[in-house]
Symmetry: C2
Subunit: 222 residues, 2 copies
């Protein structure tokens, strides 16, 4: 259901539902802000309810626990980014280009918005929400490359793990030091080499003009 139909023809209880969704979003936004500032460990129900200006009792109408909230934040941020990447690469034919564009956008999002970047880096390589949102997409894109004969690798899981781990490590290196140059293309170039693209072609593909990441329609937002 799009937002416009909600407004033009509100269902029974629509106002209450919108209010509930607004409260849920306020809690999520407070948690995202806290996570960006202090890392996932710093998120407590008390901090978040104070940030969202709601009572602790209200909190439990929306989330079962503190961990439930943290998972929801991760799904919210990373899954929406994943969907935007899916929308961007939909219809593209070359697996190397799909892989490269997606990696560059993931990296670019982090270095152009340090709040988002630190969020990812702090979650770390063992964070399930992050792995679940990005891992299957990376594996899918790598598998397309293998099936189309474009990539020359044997172990999709290994390549997916290396893609993910190096993503976070390069983000961390960029955010933690005084690097000024966006590492997105150099990062994608390195991974294209890893999956078997020659160095010359990897450089060319990784430096193609990057398509804009489309916004999702309201109806597809989580």
């Amino acid at each position: 259901m799009t937002q416009s139909t909600t407004f033009s023809n509100p269902p029974s209880g629509g106002r209450r539902e919108r209010k509930a969704e607004q409260t849920r979003r306020r809690i999520l936004e407070a948690a995202k802000k806290q996570m960006a500032q202090g890392g996932p460990e710093s998120i407590t129900i008390q901090v978040v309810t104070e940030g969202a200006d709601i009572g602790q009792g209200t909190f439990y109408n929306y989330f079962k626990s503190r961990d439930d909230l943290v998972d929801a934040v991760i799904v919210d941020v990373v899954e929406n980014l994943g969907r935007r990447l899916d929308a961007m690469t939909h219809g593209m034919a070359d697996a190397a280009e799909i892989y490269s564009f997606s990696l560059r956008h993931l990296m670019h999002t982090a270095v152009s918005d340090p709040v988002w970047g630190w969020f990812m880096v702090r979650l770390g390589i063992a964070q399930e929400g992050l792995l679940n949102a990005l891992g299957p997409r990376a594996s899918r894109d790598i598998q397309i490359g293998i099936d189309s004969g474009r990539f020359d690798i044997e172990d999709v899981k290994l390549a997916s793990a290396m893609t993910f781990g190096s993503l976070l490590a390069v983000m961390h290196d960029y955010l933690d030091t005084d690097r000024k140059e966006d590492p997105s293309s150099a990062y994608a170039e390195s991974l294209l080499r890893m999956v078997g693209i020659t160095p010359a072609e990897a450089k060319e593909i990784a430096n193609r003009p990057l398509p804009i990441l489309p916004e999702l329609p309201q109806s597809e937002l989580l």
Copy 2:
């Protein structure tokens, strides 16, 4: 000073010094055990002093704080491994072989000893002690490859970060799933491709017989 000279010719106060070193090691071992079980966050001074069977007052004779202890654990474990890698590769001529052997041993140590592997994975990509022990060594080995014309890359820091991040992510993937095959050679092969070695040669180098990691003499242990 080696252990044997210590025993045959104890210096003035030698007995007390040995006792102090034994107590420090007991604290470190208790902390390592706790870190392996519950991750770095689970280390508290209370847990460690109970594990080492000492009083909290005694603890502060050896470490300034809880964080000081955690840093010491990391230095102890990772720096000793780094020194053993240095001893192994000392005198080797080919940068690609040095890089490959070191990466394989790092990975192999983690997958053959899950306690050590989880320890590394839990510390994560942003852990300074880990970065300080492994980062400069990776950068050094990559720089040797560039200077000798063996590696074809432009950004040592990027390659070093990707080496480190993918190391931890592959460790995590191995430890967290039911993978049975040691990923050490496949991991090294991927990174050799990344630094510009052709896929055929990368496979060959990454599957050469792996030299044994030498033990350090007592005098060089931390």
